[in-house]
């Protein structure tokens, strides 16, 4: 099976380890992952902010770039949600009939990481080891758009030495919402305050999720308040092993959350 990684623009720019660890996990399971370099962004920001026509070249690029692969995996429920639900909308309004068909075909083969692992590859124990207290935030688009259900939790429950604790009011939005966090900064921050309160109430060192965007939001708040709790992507936890454990070093989000000696922090 030819698996292509869709890194997402955010992880490419700010969270490269999320991509590297996604590759690590899949390779450890015996799969080869390719990274088509023509990829850029799914266009969700444009669509969600009201600029659907400008998303057209991005939708076209996504469909062209990923057409040759059997499966496309992205470490983001939100971006996969955009591919599955919004690309058809953009193609219908502004694209050709050919693009509409292309988009439908690629969307059907595009998976969020936990979907690929559990549904397609049939794995829940990926051989990970993570001796930390962790709480899981099911991001809105994973939960309600993709309906990933408890797949990420199944993966986490199979991680050795993990102390997985339930997040109160887990299904509540963290307040990110893309440009919502900027346009409605006050409401967004009020939502974030409650999410952080629930995270810190668990005593977890780590809040994890399947979306770097939401984690950037929650982590940015936890860091601002010096709570000591950090955000780590699901892929980073799944990549950590006894031989190559993740080191939780001091510093910001780009320090100390790298699995294995290849870390560049």
């Amino acid at each position: 099976m030819r698996i292509a990684l869709f890194i997402t623009c955010l992880a490419d720019a700010l969270f490269p380890d999320v991509g590297r660890t996604t590759v690590t996990v899949l390779e450890r399971l015996g799969h080869t992952v390719e990274f088509p370099r023509d990829q850029t962004c799914c266009g969700q920001m444009h669509v969600n902010t009201g600029y659907q026509e400008q998303a057209l070249p991005l939708v076209q690029r996504f469909a062209d770039t990923f057409a040759p692969y059997d499966a496309v995996v992205a470490p983001s429920g939100s971006c996969v949600g955009s591919v599955r639900h919004q690309h058809a909308l953009v193609a219908e309004r502004f694209g050709t009939r050919e693009l509409q068909q292309q988009v439908a075909a690629v969307a059907a083969r595009t998976y969020e990481l936990s979907e690929l692992l559990v549904d397609v590859l049939g794995v829940t124990d990926v051989g990970a080891y993570f001796p930390h207290r962790v709480t899981y935030h099911p991001t809105c688009h994973s939960l309600r758009m993709l309906r990933v259900g408890d797949k990420p939790l199944q993966l986490l429950q199979s991680v050795q030495a993990i102390d997985l604790v339930e997040l109160p009011a887990a299904d509540q939005c963290c307040g990110f919402g893309g440009t919502f966090a900027i346009k409605n900064v006050d409401t967004s921050s009020a939502m974030l305050a409650d999410k952080m309160r629930h995270v810190t109430s668990t005593g977890a060192e780590i809040c994890t999720a399947g979306d770097s965007s939401c984690l950037m939001h929650i982590g940015g708040g936890l860091s601002r308040l010096r709570t000591g709790a950090k955000t780590v992507h699901l892929a980073q936890i799944l990549a950590a092993t006894r031989d190559r454990p993740m080191v939780l070093a001091p510093g910001g989000q780009d320090a100390g959350v790298h699995a294995g000696p290849e870390a560049v922090a």
Partner: protein, 500 residues
């Protein structure tokens, strides 16, 4: 597809200057203030979490809840597709049973019709059943201007009216008030209340009952809304909890019902679906205590004159938009408000319209025209909780996204210069539509590493957009190497990308 896209003349929206569909300020500005109201935050947090839990419990009891939702959705979609026929059928049925049907193009016309009808009876006061349609058109204000006093009889609406306040929730208009505030309002405004009144809910309800009973017995005219109208029989239905509606609908001589044209169901049998969906979604009850149904006039029983005012006020414009029209399917249960994290924190007044929360964010901008409520489609993180609980499965997040596009496209059509945001989005699309440009742009992000050297994260950045983010959140420090540069470095040793 919006009318703008098709080059069609836009259908009339709700006129400016009449009614309560537009706020005085944008959602972010209004929310900035309401978020600092500790009492409001506490009341809303408590009330919405309580009602959320009640709803979840009674919905879980029904094994066929999803089938019911789908039935409700299909009934509404079918009704909207044949609305003109059903409306004419309703008019014929109501008329045949002795009622009089009036057609109101907009809020002004509806108010004029009701004022004239009340004047014709010689009455100078009316009792009112809780009604969103009459709040939408600001009927109370129109009646007052004509020298007619309107008395709200729903307990929460009474609290709002006595407090010279605005409703902040579709079902629980006084959700932003607590019992101490209600006691204070009653003591100040009721006149005939016992000065020893406590703030026990039972005592407050008793005081309201005593206050209202005199009005029920003296009023000659009642004004109501309607939850449903059955086209085939001409039957109107109001569901409620308190029984005050029942008093208004049965005691006065004249009953005037103002109803949005979207409230129709084709057949009486269709009510079996909605009368299951509505109370469970709305109050979290298996069944609402009072369901009143009436058909025209029954000699010797109940009001002897019945007028039905059918209100458009922008609804036909909503119906003409294929992507947005499902907003008309709303049965006003308010489940979407109760689960909405934005509503729970900002409160109903921040939306500026009588229709707050997620449904308001898609309904109000469509009724008024997008530019009069341009900030509302953005008043959502698109978390999707509203869609999950909607009893008629309105895909609110998709309509929000659609209305955002309508806003930016309308703005672009009406302005010669693009907005700053539009220019930024265009630039981003230009960069992202080409991998070389994108790679270079990503590398330039490394410049941001000079920030955040001390803590490893970036604190305050006094630049537009970044400042909004860093007001409450640290910013991630860009890594030394982007993913694609790391990948390229890893895979340059071998020409094939297939080697891990």
């Amino acid at each position: 597809m919006s009318a703008v896209d098709l080059g069609m003349p836009a259908l009339p929206t709700s006129p400016r200057g009449t009614g309560h569909l537009r706020g005085d300020e944008s959602f972010p500005d209004a929310a900035r203030r309401s978020l600092t109201d500790s009492q409001l935050r506490r009341n809303l947090g408590k009330a919405t979490s309580t009602i959320r839990a009640k709803r979840a419990a009674v919905v879980a009891e029904l094994p066929d809840w999803e089938e019911l939702r789908e039935a409700g959705r299909q009934l509404k979609v079918h009704t909207m597709a044949h609305l003109p026929d059903h409306l004419v059928q309703l008019e014929e049925a109501v008329t045949a049973r002795g009622g009089v049907v009036h057609w109101a193009r907009d809020a002004e016309e509806a108010n004029r019709i009701v004022v004239d009808l009340v004047r014709a009876t010689g009455a100078d006061e009316v009792v009112k059943v809780k009604s969103m349609a009459t709040q939408e058109i600001a009927l109370n204000e129109a009646l007052e201007a004509a020298g007619i006093a309107a008395f709200e009889t729903d307990l929460a609406e009474l609290i709002v009216q006595l407090g010279h306040d605005k409703p902040s929730h579709i079902l629980v208009p006084a959700i932003h008030r607590n019992r101490a505030e209600i006691r204070e309002i009653f003591l100040r405004e009721m006149g005939d209340v016992d000065p020893e009144l406590s703030d026990e809910p039972a005592a407050l309800a008793a005081a309201a009952r005593q206050h209202l009973r005199r009005k029920f017995l003296s009023a000659k005219v009642a004004v109501s809304g309607a939850n449903f109208a059955v086209a085939e029989t001409g039957t109107l239905a109001v569901v409620e909890s308190e029984g005050n509606g029942r008093m208004c609908l049965t005691l006065p001589e004249t009953l005037i019902t103002v109803m949005g044209i979207e409230k129709l169901v084709p057949r009486a049998q269709d009510l079996e679906v909605f009368l299951q969906l509505l109370p469970r979604s709305s109050t979290g009850e298996r069944m609402n205590p009072y369901t009143s149904m009436w058909t025209g006039v029954t000699p010797g029983d109940g009001p002897q004159a019945f007028h039905l005012v059918l209100l458009d006020n922008g609804r036909t414009a909503v119906l003409s938009d294929a992507q947005g029209r499902d907003a008309l399917n709303c049965i006003r249960c308010s489940a979407c408000l109760n689960v909405c994290p934005v509503y729970e924190r900002a409160g109903g007044h921040a939306y500026g319209s009588v229709y707050p929360g997620p449904i308001g964010a898609i309904l109000s901008p469509q009724l008024t025209g997008i530019e009069d409520n341009a900030s509302l489609p953005y008043a959502s993180s698109l978390c999707g909780a509203c869609y999950d609980v909607c009893p008629v499965k309105i895909d609110i997040p998709s309509i929000l996204v659609h209305l955002r596009a309508e806003h930016t496209e309308t703005y672009a059509a009406e302005h010669r210069l693009p907005s700053v945001e539009a220019s930024a989005m265009k630039a981003a699309a230009w960069v992202m539509s080409n991998p070389t440009r994108w790679t270079l742009a990503l590398r330039s992000g490394r410049l941001g590493r000079v920030l955040g050297r001390r803590r490893g994260v970036i604190g305050d950045v006094p630049l537009p957009v970044a400042a909004q983010w860093t007001a409450t959140r640290d910013l991630t420090r860009p890594p030394q190497q982007t993913f694609r540069d790391w990948w390229a470095a890893e895979h340059t040793a071998t020409p094939s990308e297939d080697e891990g």
